[in-house]
């Protein structure tokens, strides 16, 4: 592939495909370290139920115990081990974030790029749909979603599958609800980028050469979008995770006794006061969330740099 405008100093090897991306990724120190950390953490969260010293659900007699050798992250009001709760919560929050990101990626990017590329009336209609969905009250939407579907799905699950699956109905609906509101801004941003990109020289040139729309969109426009898409994805994850904690606060999110990392933080936020501070309840979950999201962003940056070179030869 050769295009006008991409004839410039290509920085990396001319290797396409997953292997090439990986090779370019692996030379970047911070992103690589972050990726390793994330992988390690996800594995740890997955294995945690089998290796945990304390169950996150079992109530203890030591209330508000500061971090120590027994409880690594201390305990809260019920005397439950905060460290275990953080690990479980991180698992839930990562799932919430991942599903939000996935929906943004699939629906948001395709919606936005098609709207921007097609332009004119199609663009106007598609963007108005986004505006309408964006305007509707999301809390009511989630309430309606959960109340109308929860009991139906629950019955169906417990009949056709297992009661364990049935008890996670609420969480699945939550993922669905969060996903369905998380792609809207992504669509807007992508569409804005496409509007600007589609008149750049290399696209016009390709069009002049008789390339099909699908080809142009896929081979020329999308590769130039990855940067913004990845960065906005890394911004979507925290916003979805925090929105989930807000919904939990309203009683619509993750069901107690479980808690997501976001709701642990929300719970801990009430510890910031002038009288007495159980610092670990707010500092540790916040730090874990920030670390995870930072790592995710650095992975995103690295991925962007490795993907971007693809179109330059």
């Amino acid at each position: 592939m050769t295009d006008a405008g991409t004839e410039t100093s290509a920085t990396c090897e001319n290797e396409a495909g997953v292997q090439g991306v990986w090779r370019r990724f692996a030379v970047q120190r911070i992103p690589l370290a972050s990726a390793i950390f994330m992988t390690f953490f996800v594995v740890l969260v997955g294995l945690w139920p089998w290796i945990q010293p304390h169950s996150p659900q079992v109530l203890g007699d030591l209330q508000f115990e500061p971090p120590g050798p027994r409880y690594w992250a201390g305990t809260g009001v019920h005397g439950r081990d905060l460290f275990s709760r953080m690990m479980h919560g991180a698992g839930l929050s990562l799932m919430v974030g991942a599903s939000g990101a996935l929906v943004s990626l699939v629906i948001g990017v395709s919606w936005g790029s098609v709207a921007g590329y097609a332009g004119g009336r199609v663009d106007a209609v598609m963007m108005r749909v986004v505006d309408v969905l964006y305007s509707l009250p999301s809390i009511i939407f989630v309430v309606v979603l959960i109340t109308t579907l929860e009991s139906l799905l629950k019955q169906w699950f417990s009949k056709s599958f297992s009661p364990e699956l049935a008890s996670s109905t609420r969480f699945m609906l939550l993922l669905f609800g969060l996903g369905s509101v998380s792609w809207l801004t992504m669509a807007r941003i992508v569409r804005g980028q496409v509007l600007s990109l589609k008149n750049r020289a290399f696209v016009s040139a390709s069009r002049a050469l008789g390339a099909s729309h699908a080809h142009i969109l896929w081979r020329h426009i999308l590769p130039n979008l990855w940067g913004v898409v990845i960065v906005y994805l890394t911004l979507t994850v925290p916003s979805v995770v925090l929105y989930e904690s807000f919904l939990s606060f309203l009683g619509l999110g993750v069901q107690p006794p479980q808690a997501s990392l976001g709701s642990l933080i929300a719970e801990g936020a009430s510890q910031i006061n002038s009288i007495r501070v159980y610092w670990w309840l707010i500092v540790l979950p916040s730090a874990l969330l920030a670390t995870l999201l930072l790592a995710l962003s650095f992975v995103g940056d690295g991925l962007r740099d490795s993907l971007e070179t693809r179109d330059r030869s």
Partner: protein, 295 residues
């Protein structure tokens, strides 16, 4: 725009009726079902939905958003007129704060890409994104209002009262603006016009400033539409925390209390703002990047 608002109001109107519980369901029910029936009748909630919607629309055309079903002595219009300016004031301050902090930070990070400055400013920006307002706010209050007594803790009585809420609200958006600008600018490193400008012998900073910023800011501009609509209509967390009499609190509470008229009224206000802002955004594209066309 009018048909769009019609559609939005209709969808919102129907959606809120799907949610279980009504505005007059309370912990303690009236002693007789007759009273419950009377209340519904008084607010026409016993009529068929379409008729109710037509009635509502008739009111809206006359500029009347109806009575609030929770605050029954107030009309929705009064509540909006009273609260919206306050939310808009705070939102504007937060928006300016977000741009004032986010744009320079993003620009700096893009200019120093891969260097220490890039990582440092990205780290700060990401912290702004990751640490939620309900943590930042109480922390700022503790440190600067309770301990150092530099600012008031809450309420809105003087410009000093605006500072902590502005920072709390703006920090999150500042982080996002910085990330988006950095990315928008980095994406253009090798674009044809940038290369051309460099070939003409312009220095790097000059190229960034004159050419790259202009196009690189587009993602931020796209994001500004929804962001500003959100900011201007207030934030539940910040208004609740700082006891600010805006409409952000109503945005959430009306949903929770099933205050039908208020929900739809606020949705309309929000939609008008959003549509107008997105129109501005489209105009701004054309101004920033003259090659943008909408065909």
């Amino acid at each position: 725009m009018i048909p769009l608002l019609l559609g939005i109001s209709f969808l919102a109107f129907m959606l809120v009726r799907l949610a279980p519980g009504g505005p007059f369901d309370r912990e303690r029910r009236p002693a007789s079902p007759e009273i419950e029936r009377r209340i519904l009748e008084k607010y026409h909630l016993d009529e068929p939905l379409l008729k109710q919607y037509a009635r509502y629309l008739g009111g809206v055309l006359k500029g009347d958003l109806g009575p609030s079903l929770k605050y029954r002595n107030h009309s929705v219009s009064d509540i909006v007129i009273q609260g919206l300016p306050v939310s808009m004031m705070l939102g504007t301050c937060a928006f300016l704060f977000a741009l004032g902090l986010g744009l320079p930070a993003g620009f700096y990070a893009a200019a120093r890409q891969g260097g220490f400055g890039d990582y440092a400013s990205s780290l700060v920006a990401l912290c702004g994104v990751c640490v939620p307002a309900f943590v930042v706010g109480p922390f700022l209050v503790m440190e600067f209002a309770i301990r150092r007594k530099l600012f008031p803790v809450a309420l809105l009585e003087s410009p000093m009262h605006l500072i902590l809420p502005t920072v709390t609200l703006g920090l999150y958006f500042a982080g996002r603006v910085a990330r988006l600008l950095r990315e928008g600018m980095l994406g253009l490193r090798d674009a044809e016009f940038v290369v051309a400008a460099r070939a003409k012998g312009m220095t790097d900073v000059a190229v960034l400033r004159r050419h790259v910023f202009r196009i690189g800011v587009l993602p931020v501009v796209s994001y500004s539409g929804p962001m500003l609509a959100d900011l201007l209509t207030g934030s539940f967390v910040v208004e609740n925390l700082f006891q600010i009499p805006g409409i952000g609190v109503f945005m959430v509470n009306s949903s929770l209390s099933r205050d039908y008229t208020m929900i739809v009224g606020l949705v309309l206000v929000y939609a008008v703002l959003l549509l107008m802002l997105n129109l501005f955004v489209d105009l701004a594209y054309r101004w920033l990047d003259p090659r943008v066309s909408y065909d």
